[in-house]
């Protein structure tokens, strides 16, 4: 990693914790040349490309794959219990996969802080899940597994429709709130001895509702969705959920990410419109890319919506080091 990319690497960690994405100070020579060249690009050609893209058929390859994985993994929990097939027993907070412990990192953290006593099974389960999401890409937990993510995605469609009809506007909120809520819930767990976050975690509530049947706790999930539909787009995932930050930190070291290629990009900005966490895509703004190839930062949920929507293939999934190996 060269010094420019290293700088961006640390910048993106700060962005994950809530800092606003800034204009880069140093840009590599090659990238600068491309930026200059792009300024000279024929505007008409670009316009034609945009129009062509708008008329093109929408691709949902990665979204469909992701939804299939999300639904399948949640149903595997449900069916394991209902039909007693014992493949994946438990809920998202903690489970056994054919007898092997899996424990959600944020739930484990809450329990460890509250109970202050860690048994071997807890360590095994947490370690396994840590390695799993290290390999699979940190916040990919959010978009590929979390059941709340899916319902929030549907709520987001409603929200965007209402925005288009000018019935509501998206009220954005300071992203540092998520870091604050992570700290507050960690301190609360340690200080009160109760896993306070677990009582309101929509991920846990939904996962249990899918497996053990619905309950009144779903009202809280519904309240969150109503807030997101009428007030603020994807507010829980973007501004509040500490689980996302926990997995985001794992994602810092993950080799799986989305890669951006500067030279083929038209800077239409469609990717930023569909992105749940558009601050990680600041690099696609004209003149912002610090190098010709840029890995997207750790707060990216690896959902693939940008990969689907990019007309030029400038955003692709990438496994660090794998291309070298092959």
């Amino acid at each position: 990693m060269n010094s420019i990319l290293r700088r961006r690497f640390f910048d993106q960690i700060a962005v994950m914790f809530g800092r606003e994405a800034k204009k880069p100070e140093v840009i590599s020579e090659r990238a600068q040349q491309i930026h200059v060249l792009k300024r000279a690009t024929n505007k008409e050609r670009l316009q034609a490309a945009i129009v062509a893209h708008e008329n093109a058929k929408k691709v949902h390859k990665w979204r469909n794959r992701r939804w299939a994985v999300l639904i399948a993994s949640n149903l595997l929990f449900t069916f394991s219990f209902w039909f007693d097939i014992q493949i994946l027993e438990g809920a998202l907070t903690a489970s056994r996969f054919v007898g092997f412990h899996l424990i959600d990192l944020n739930s484990a953290l809450q329990v460890m802080l509250a109970h202050k006593h860690i048994i071997v099974n807890l360590v095994i389960g947490t370690g396994t899940v840590f390695v799993l999401w290290l390999v699979l890409g940190g916040r990919s937990f959010c978009s590929w597994v979390c059941p709340y993510h899916l319902v929030a995605e549907w709520a987001e469609y409603i929200h965007l429709y209402l925005v288009k009809k000018k019935l509501v506007t998206d009220q954005n909120i300071d992203r540092r709130l998520r870091t604050l809520s992570w700290i507050v819930f960690a301190v609360l767990a340690a200080a009160t001895g109760y896993t306070v976050f677990e009582a309101i975690s929509p991920t846990g509530i939904l996962s249990r509702a899918l497996i053990y049947g619905p309950g009144l706790a779903l009202l809280w999930v519904l309240a969150l969705l109503v807030f997101e539909v009428f007030f603020s787009r994807r507010a829980w995932c973007r501004y509040a959920c500490p689980i996302g930050l926990t997995y985001g930190v794992v994602g810092i070291f993950s080799p799986v990410r989305v890669k951006y290629k500067l030279d083929s990009c038209f800077h239409e900005g469609d990717c930023r419109k569909v992105c749940l966490v558009p601050h990680v895509l600041d690099t696609v703004i004209k003149g912002r890319a610090v190098d010709t190839e840029i890995p997207i930062g750790p707060d990216c949920t690896r959902c693939g919506l940008c990969v689907d929507t990019c007309p030029t293939g400038s955003l692709t999934f990438d496994v660090k080091g794998l291309s070298k190996l092959l």
Binding site: S80, F81, E89, G90, A91, L92, T93, A94, S95, R96, H101, I103, D104, S107, A108, V111, A114, H115, H117, I119, N121, L122, G125, Q171, N172, I173, D174, L177, L180, S181, V184, F185, L188, G193, Y194, T195, V196, F197, E198, A199, I200, G204, I205, R208, I211, Y212, G215, L216, A217, L219, W220, F227, S232, A235, Y239, A240
Partner: protein, 282 residues
Amino acid sequence: MSEPKSPDTAKPPPSRERMQQARRRWLRTILLTGGVMGAAMSGFLPLVYARTKRLRPPGALDEKDFLSSCIKCGQCVQVCPVQAIKLADLVDGLGVGAPYIDAREQACDFSCDAVQCILACPTGSLVYKKPAFLRVRKGAKLAAAPILKAKEKDPEPTLNLSERIGVARLTRPEACLAIQGKGFKGQVRGASFKGRMRYMEVDRWKPIGISEHPYDVAECDLCVRECPVKGAISIETVFAPDGSKRKSPVVHEPCVGCGVCEMICPVEPTCIVIDAREVWNT
């Protein structure tokens, strides 16, 4: 301030509109923070009211430790052969998603023979024996490992359980059939009752519905007859306040608080209940 800055280096002051936008966003942030924290704090309310004393699954730590260590995954629910364990809902606040037993509806009859819920627990909320640093309340510890009547003839007849989860108590002696010298005939709790139990003479490994197993007893002793633990309850001859002799169920020290007596009591409402988390007082 007196030095005039060149327009190239000086940042233009943010426009009025931008400042307003920033302030509004700040207010919204505070609003969402308040909302989330308020929802989180509402979890403490049931603690303040201390409204329900839930009967926890066997091997549960003391309530405070139990709530702090339970990860709310429901693995204990999944292994229970009679589905005695349920997960609490929103009204339990911080206990939402934590397991409990409603003994009157479905008690733990230890038909798994090995307290599998404890085995399933990934965080040590349910334990065979408490770790050294946790205090054992006086009277909570069982004097000896409970002997399971169902496997009394096995080489290892005991349950791996060191503390009780509650104690049975005769709350309505005036309605108790045994005390009145009455018998019982028919389906306990009616035909629609969903509760299940393991009957050794039917099938050791397959619990059946209690409604499928009608009784006909000359003098009611169902709580004693169906109690899974040896020596936990018996029918004794006692003296009534007026000096006359009569029979009555009497709870003894081996009672672990499983709740089968509460479930099986044919009187409505039940005459015998489990005091959850109660200890043995001699």
